[in-house]
Symmetry: C2
């Protein structure tokens, strides 16, 4: 893919290849990456994102791990507090879905740089 063919992505923040992050931007973004800097949370996020209908019941998530429900709940709380997922209780269970805007911001930050620099590497 040539640089001319790169899609223009309409996002709030400057992509990595265009302009260095400011101190405040970096301070805001680092906790988002910290929230997924854990294998269990990364798998939880992918399980939620891949789940049919775009949301997953906590009952589906706990069965995928050899961990106690309180441990899974802790990791889900970290993801939720970072803003990566949202949740709602419906009857017995809590349901989770990803926050697409936050994930888009994170991926966009990394995408243009990797695409642009792939050609010169």
């Amino acid at each position: 893919m040539s640089k001319q063919e790169l899609p223009i992505v309409d996002v709030c923040c400057a992509p990595l290849a265009c302009e260095p992050l400011s101190e405040s931007e970096a301070a805001e973004l680092a906790p988002l990456f910290k929230a997924i800097a854990d294998p269990v949370r990364l798998r939880l996020l992918s399980l939620i994102a891949c789940h049919e209908g775009g949301e997953a019941c906590v009952c589906d998530l706990t069965t995928a791990f050899d961990l106690t429900p309180p441990t899974i709940s802790h990791h889900l709380k970290v993801l939720r507090q970072a803003g990566l997922i949202e949740s709602e209780r419906r009857g017995t269970w809590v349901y989770y879905w990803i926050n697409p805007a936050v994930l888009a911001r994170m991926s966009t930050l990394l995408t243009p740089a990797s695409t642009a620099f792939a050609e010169t590497a």
Copy 2:
């Protein structure tokens, strides 16, 4: 941007929206996100990625922070050990550039999910 206009990215690993990460994939990817889960390292990465010619001298990087050169060196070492950047000494200075394949893998993991779910949110 509609789904039809999305570029097809040729990468090694399944995007987040397609298939949940396996335990081994998550264990391999989590340290990459951990390496950028720090404001200084995130700014260093963006400074290197944005630098003219795609590489930055350590002398350019240290001046951008109110931190000691050993602290900057420590953060650069973390990024290098994670495989996010590469380096080479030339004369007095060490030069750094990003590893586009690793960044592409990280961004691709987050991109399809966020794009796919952005339309249904």
